[in-house]
Symmetry: C2
Subunit: 171 residues, 2 copies
């Protein structure tokens, strides 16, 4: 798909069909995240991929807004160091956001929807995934083919007006 | 360009040709950032766009690693609320990262390179851009056509091994 179409077709998808994501497509999505840049190329992020129904069901319980994870075809947990420095944490979150966006655009290109989920209960997520204590979950991203309408470029995105968000030269 | 090619062709570009970015292309890049998702769709981000040579020169001095901004065709400053809550700041940084990645992929699709720059001197950046006190610069992204080789899918990305970054089901 053309890049501009994939970017415009990405939307928040939380209801998935039963269709699995084949392994080459899942790896392509992960590679997009792997290629994303990071501060000083420090690459403070790992991806734990779950496509096991039982494990997905457990992950769906680490936050009230994560229920869609249970029915996803696969969910990627973005893991960053459990750093205590505020500036380090902000850089790692920024970089995690870059990786997640790249994965979602790569998925959109394949017709695969995506939906974020926060991680509220870090201790529980650590147990489910076997994470060491010095790592934490920044975000989960659930992937799957949409249960309803296929992805297509959005015509009326729910955003603040473009002319309000973009400032030319001065605020 | 195909999405997967645009994702793989993005690289850190800090030396730019004199070729300007035309207005429709610059707006497409900004729209990609505008469309990026955010926590609860709160859209805590604004974009200030600079393509004035004098202003770019001033922006290049807000951080030691921002010199490439001076010679960019255009630089987008991603602005977020100057929030004091740690969790709010992390969410806004994550969302800023998503917007920046979308802009860089949209640029890559057009053959336009991109290079991040931090903002060290927030007070100075605020003066240059006319930002209110309750806003701060999360990051700058410089855009321009590469001075050297055109963008093309990378064959040897400088990353930790894919098999080390990606964990299947368990850490």
């Amino acid at each position: 798909m053309e890049t501009w179409d994939a970017i415009r077709a990405r939307r928040n998808v939380r209801a998935y069909s039963d269709r699995p994501i084949n392994q080459p497509d899942l790896e392509r999505i992960l590679r997009a995240g792997w290629l994303a840049p990071s501060a000083s190329n420090r690459q403070h992020r790992d991806f734990v991929v779950s496509s096991d129904r039982d494990q997905l069901g457990q992950l769906a319980e680490v936050w009230q807004g994560a229920r869609h994870v249970a029915t996803s075809a696969a969910t990627v947990v973005v893991v960053i160091p459990a750093s205590t420095g505020a500036r380090d944490r902000e850089l790692d979150q920024f970089d995690a956001g870059q990786a997640v966006m790249a994965m979602m655009i790569a998925a959109s290109d394949l017709g695969i929807g995506s939906g974020h989920a926060s991680v509220g209960d870090q201790a529980r997520a650590r147990r489910i995934l076997g994470l060491p204590e010095d790592q934490e979950c920044a975000y989960m991203v659930a992937f799957g083919y949409p249960a309803d309408r296929p992805l297509a470029p959005l015509t009326k995105p729910n955003r603040r007006p473009f002319a309000e968000v973009v400032h030319w030269a001065k605020w």
